[in-house]
């Protein structure tokens, strides 16, 4: 296939007036500061990563292309299944993802699948890389495969080796064997979406799931809603108040979904992210033995917040992956679609639009990698900032792609309309973006109220 030498309005790279052409003719010392090969942007970023993470990024992309791509449209268009049912193709995907290590990468071998060399880097960074690759191909499938990590996180954050060995290790073992044991994270309650994600709201929270002490453990009663992956989970980390107490008593219970009294009530018909279920769970005198209390009584609120701090940067990466998919779809459309005998990409206004899209997308990646790189102990301020900013901007990128395609943009086959529907959830779940903005300030207030204590010079540093 013959490629044109240049886009309209630009000189070819080989033209004498092309600066890149001339850099190669600079003296050696000048070439060291100017000459470059214009390589693929994804490759450029991957090569900048530490080797272990670069390998993970390449593997994740390959897995997404091989196993997620063929299912993305089908999973989005499929009829809404009764609660708990999963299509055979998604079951195969989960099994393959488990065998390939994508459901167990928060611990290294022999417990999990994290490469030992990746241990030198924050797991949140690794997770963000994987989720970007998966969500680039399909937001819903990405959520299907990542909600499980959110469910497991309280077990890890218990900080108790016995909890990890007793519960996480068998979960990961089954995942690696291709018989995935999925875990869901259950905090949201009817009428209390934001109260469980914000300290100020929690203060006046009226418990929707209550635990009552009985011989040998606790009985759980109440309902949780909008639980991602709750329909396919075999166990759930459930957060419940102690009888007669408020949010300060919140305790994390590790609940077996086969326990008597546990019921999967329904799954929601959602705008997007349709490959992943959002479940309503009912607890009617569900008995939870003492050894399934995670992190100790009354530590649930802190574990919940720490879990959200761990997951909000990967959620940003989820939005990033979708912004990237929208940008790539727009580029492909602009390259292939002809108007007046020329590809759209020859038009200056289209080039301007694509430039904005790629700048937005890569700015998000810079932000996310910067924060993920240092997220050994993810700070609430950084995690919340990433989450609301990346998800808001990612949707804007998707809107640009739809605008470029005009009435073609509403067609499912162009992919961007699905990306929009998928992205839209990321601005709502794990705390609405309004709640995340307030979370940033909540965490920042120590410096805001007494800046001199924490800074070398007066005033608040940003």
């Amino acid at each position: 296939m013959n490629h044109p030498a240049h886009l309209q309005g630009h000189l070819p790279a080989t033209h004498p007036l092309s600066p890149r052409h001339r850099y190669a003719q600079f003296p050696w010392a000048a070439r060291m500061m100017s000459d470059y090969a214009a390589s693929d942007l994804w490759e450029t970023d991957t090569r900048r990563l530490p080797a272990a993470l670069a390998r993970i990024r390449r593997r994740a992309r390959h897995f997404a292309e091989q196993h997620l791509r063929p299912l993305a449209a089908e999973a989005d268009l499929a009829p809404h299944l009764p609660p708990g049912e999963c299509s055979p193709s998604l079951q195969r995907l989960l099994a393959e993802a488990g065998r390939d290590g994508w459901l167990s990468y928060f611990l290294p071998a022999p417990l999990g699948s994290m490469p030992w060399r990746a241990l030198r880097h924050a797991p949140v960074w690794q997770s963000s890389l994987v989720i970007e690759e998966f969500s680039r191909v399909c937001g819903g499938l990405s959520l299907l495969l990542s909600a499980h990590h959110l469910g497991v996180m309280p077990l890890l954050l218990s900080g108790n080796p016995r909890t990890v060995l007793k519960y996480v290790a068998p979960i990961y073992r089954r995942c690696r064997a291709g018989d995935p044991h999925l875990v869901a994270f259950a905090i949201t309650e009817p009428g209390a979406g934001s109260d469980v994600e914000d300290g100020h709201g929690a203060e006046s929270y009226r418990p929707g799931v209550v635990s009552t002490p009985v011989d040998g453990g606790y009985l759980l009663n109440g309902r949780k809603i909008f639980i991602s992956g709750g329909d396919l989970a075999q166990s759930v980390t459930v957060f419940a108040a102690l009888q007669g107490e408020g949010m300060a008593s919140w305790t994390c219970f590790y609940v077996d979904c086969n326990a008597p009294g546990f019921k999967l009530v329904r799954t929601e018909l959602k705008m997007g992210m349709r490959a992943s279920g959002a479940a309503e769970l009912e607890f009617s005198n569900v008995f939870v033995p003492h050894d399934r209390i995670i992190g100790g009584l009354r530590n649930g609120w802190a574990i919940n917040r720490a879990t959200l701090n761990t997951s909000r940067i990967p959620v940003s990466a989820m939005a990033l992956g979708m912004a990237r998919a929208a940008t790539e779809a727009a580029v492909e459309f602009a390259q292939q679609y002809q108007l007046g005998g020329r590809p759209l990409i020859d038009a200056q206004d289209v080039q301007l639009l694509l430039a904005d899209m790629v700048a937005e997308t890569r700015s998000l990646r810079s932000l996310i990698w910067q924060e993920a790189r240092h997220a050994w102990r993810p700070r609430q301020l950084h995690a919340a900032l990433c989450k609301f900013h990346a998800t808001d901007r990612a949707q804007r990128v998707c809107e640009m792609a739809m605008d470029l395609m005009a009435d073609h943009g509403g067609l499912h086959e162009q992919r961007v309309e699905k990306i929009f529907r998928d992205i839209r959830l990321t601005r709502i779940f794990e705390g609405t973006n309004q709640i995340n903005r307030l979370s940033l300030v909540e965490d920042w207030q120590t410096q805001l109220l007494d800046p001199d204590t924490h800074s070398m010079r007066p005033g608040v540093s940003v």
Binding site: G193, E203, M271, Q338, A406, H412, T432
Partner: protein, 329 residues
């Protein structure tokens, strides 16, 4: 009820039957707003059906008395608004060779697919075509062209999406415009763009009611969410958008020929961005439940996106406005 133009009666006063009069324009825009408040997808379908009937009357084509709701219209070419070329041609600027070539390609239905969102049972569609250096029209029967059913579209759940392609030997005759083809096409574009804004305004009113009602009963942090500045900002964005739409439509509530198409196109860019933003804010007020199809506010957002993408969308509208003001490619 006479709301839709189902006959050739020139005295009818249904949707887009009397746009030459200010009262007829206002009636049509307000009707579409009311329809849009209930269901933007249905409103869009009726809007295009009424436009098809309007164009048919201007072309002196007989209406299909047996199935008047089965005839629809696509007012544009295969993508966008032909950059600056269409606007230059409509304003009577001397077309360059490049303008002519672009318009011929823009309206070429044989080499490019035309996207159609219409009721599943549509039977015919009116389309502009480029013929002898001017815009003429074609009424195409569904059975005569290649029609591809597309998968579910982003919004307009009540309608279906199709790709249309003219076969190599098309039998559909080209119908020349009696009178000034530029004037007719200008009117059609104005009615289409204004109609889309009116439908969006109605849908926004519905979203505003939903968001306000929800904020008045839903509690967070021990008080109603309407008492939180975060939610107040969202509701204010919605109110602000509604006012913008009302002002824009109010300024165009004139006899059709007194309305400037360039101004409509420029206004549309701004209005649809605000309509979509407001619909997003309405979803956001609802939080998680806003994302669920049971409630319906997410559908308003999807429909607002669809309205934004019609009539050439808002990206190319900037080039169109530039052309309207005299710029060339």
């Amino acid at each position: 009820m006479g709301l839709l133009s189902l006959s050739a009666d020139p005295e009818g006063y249904g949707l887009w039957e009397q746009p030459a009069e200010k009262a007829g324009m206002l009636l049509s825009l307000r009707m579409l707003g009311q329809f849009g408040a209930v269901n933007a997808g249905v409103a869009f379908a009726w809007h295009r059906i009424a436009l098809a009937a309007y164009v048919a009357r201007q072309l002196r084509l007989p209406l299909n008395a047996d199935a008047p709701l089965a005839a629809t219209l696509v007012p544009t070419g295969h993508l966008g608004l032909a950059r600056t070329s269409l606007a230059r041609w409509l304003t009577g600027q001397p077309p360059s060779d490049e303008d002519s070539a672009l318009l011929a390609d823009w309206l070429n239905r044989r080499e490019h697919d035309t996207v159609l969102y219409a009721p599943a049972a549509w039977e015919s569609v009116l389309l502009p075509v480029w013929d002898q250096h001017t815009i003429a029209w074609r009424r195409v029967n569904r059975s005569d062209w290649q029609v591809t059913n597309c998968a579910r579209a982003h919004g307009f759940d009540e309608l279906a999406a199709f790709r249309l392609r003219e076969p190599p030997a098309s039998a559909a005759p080209i119908v020349s415009v009696p009178g000034d083809p530029r004037a007719l096409f200008t009117r059609v574009l104005k009615m289409d763009m204004l109609g889309l804004m009116a439908i969006g305004g109605g849908a926004l009113a519905r979203a505003q009611t939903m968001a306000t009602d929800y904020a008045a009963v839903r509690r967070q942090g021990g008080k109603l969410i309407a008492a939180h500045a975060a939610v107040q900002q969202l509701l204010t964005d919605i109110e602000s958008a509604r006012l913008r739409v009302d002002q824009a439509l109010g300024s165009f509530g004139l006899a059709l020929d007194e309305v400037d198409l360039g101004a409509v196109a420029a206004s549309r860019i701004d209005v649809h961005k605000h309509l979509c933003h407001a619909a997003n804010q309405a979803v956001q007020v609802h939080g998680g439940i806003g994302y669920m199809r049971d409630l319906g506010v997410e559908k308003i957002l999807r429909d607002q996106n669809m309205l934004r993408l019609q009539a050439g969308g808002i990206h190319d509208a900037r080039q169109f406005v530039a052309g309207w003001k005299g710029a060339s490619a």
